[in-house]
Point group: C2
Chain length 360, copies 2
Amino acid sequence: MSLTFQEAYQDLRHIYDQTRQAASVPFTLRDAERALAALLTTDNLWEAIRLSHVPLRALSTFWHQLIKAGLLKAHDGALRLTESGQALTQALGVAPLREATCAHCEGRGVDYRTLPEGVAERFAEIARHRPEAIQAYDQGFVTDATTLSRIAFAWHRGDLEGKAIIVLGDDDLMSIAAALTGAPAHILAIDIDERLIQFINEVARQEGLDRLEAVRYDLREPLPTAWLRRFDTFLTDPTESFLGFKTTIERGLLALRGPGSAGYFGLTHVESSYEKWAQIQRFLLDHGAVLTDLIDDFSAYVNWGYIESMRSWEWLPTHSLPERAWYYSALHRIELLRTPDLDNTAVEGDIFSDAEAATT
Amino acid sequence: MSLTFQEAYQDLRHIYDQTRQAASVPFTLRDAERALAALLTTDNLWEAIRLSHVPLRALSTFWHQLIKAGLLKAHDGALRLTESGQALTQALGVAPLREATCAHCEGRGVDYRTLPEGVAERFAEIARHRPEAIQAYDQGFVTDATTLSRIAFAWHRGDLEGKAIIVLGDDDLMSIAAALTGAPAHILAIDIDERLIQFINEVARQEGLDRLEAVRYDLREPLPTAWLRRFDTFLTDPTESFLGFKTTIERGLLALRGPGSAGYFGLTHVESSYEKWAQIQRFLLDHGAVLTDLIDDFSAYVNWGYIESMRSWEWLPTHSLPERAWYYSALHRIELLRTPDLDNTAVEGDIFSDAEAATT
């Protein structure tokens, strides 16, 4: 059973090459190492996804190749390395993951308990009655602590108080949390989902949040002239196909006044490789935006009702419903150094899906 | 005294233009807003620097212009907006800063108390005897909590255990903290300062850290062949002139094995504008590196002994020694997606200074 590093590396390299062939999405040897490290750390499938930080399209293919090679067994929602699998990781020198996340702020660095008294409680009470996440719009909302922490973070960065804010797609109810602080000058939430528009406007009326309004809008349409260059801050949590992501961010950039304005968005590992992250970073720089903050695993998503019908369900080697949060995203903040040169045109085609998309 | 927004904006714009003329470094209207917000939040000069997130070269020029316009008074280490200054900020709608930093992890998101028992205590005991920071090498070291948190973070990301690590410039003693965990396969610390080399090698001997070694090396020289493409992880906290920064990162990238390898570095606001940040982000992407984490204000620096002889001392409108940490840097992690195409040649000229440099 005792392998040399060279033998183990050749075995891994073979499985890696097969994974690359089978899944036509970016996948690196470091991704393979991360996936093995996660399997040394947990036998829960959803925990393994969370810890791997590898796109699910590639990760599930890698798991299938490990199973085929007799290195992994999948059963009843559990993934267990076999003796040969253990021997391989040992010979490769792969170490289990050692999380160092701060328990108090769940790794965010900001503490939403610094928000004015009552905001968190009022938000939780309102959010209890929110519309359910639906697959047609690739919805899936974050925990209350996440939404509140995003607002606390934006306030800390000077992007909330006295500012005009636009929220592009708001199943996370960020517009409501922002309005409850009383700090922004004005908040506009836009969404394609009529249920959310009604919900936010009804909350605004009932809670007396007169600086908050919600308007139905499909991001594929050009941004209405009244919203062009009118906002100091955009907040969004885009769908992650590159086209969907790019379209959402472009609308956000078009809504900003210009240099000095800021934008916030989330980006995951589940649906986006570091290759896609790099592509997005270049896109942002090319449009005059500098990345000022990037806090991974900032946003934790509440498990949505359509897990079993998402496209990645059938990729999984074993099936059970997740019992804890497993889908996380990294919070990004950008600041404009220049006015971006962008067209405000309609976008055609499927903005919800690309090769790495997992939840649509 | 009551100004309209338009009048206030014209006043600010005038002061802003004069600042731009007087200081030939990047400075944005958003920087001016941040500087005013800081002045609404504290009257302590060093706290104002910390909160502004604006390069000190531009910030101090802006303060002088505010003083000239009768909007600010500087006295005995305190900066106070005059009545006209208060009226201006009010008319502009500038809000005081509202920090939301998690008190438990000091905003880092990682908790160094997750390190194995005894590491923090042993490190603190060792670091008590470290060589003092000297100006000739632009030194200034971070708090023990910062060094330990960087190591906890690298472990969490899978860049420590079983890995070969190079530390480029180590007045923060990261190599010692890494070695104390017992996790890395090998750690090489390189520095120009003979005192640090002796100190680290002496600690390695006394503490029985046989995987740790320190070697004297001047970053301006080509990287020795024995270190080329030999490491999984580099850690560094570069001097921030663009040339100095670029040289340090290039040596780090040359030391990495290739795709999947990771690098960590710090970058400040005190000495680097967002314009320079963007320039650095593009440089990294161009060399095949993706930015995976960017946690601002992660690193807190212990006040060094040469405050009064640093070049920025004479820029300040009033003088007193800082009583708390005021110089912070943002922790960046990159991961290589491609092998960078870089020359390993000697670098000529002043790597410690550029127009924004403040501490040399």
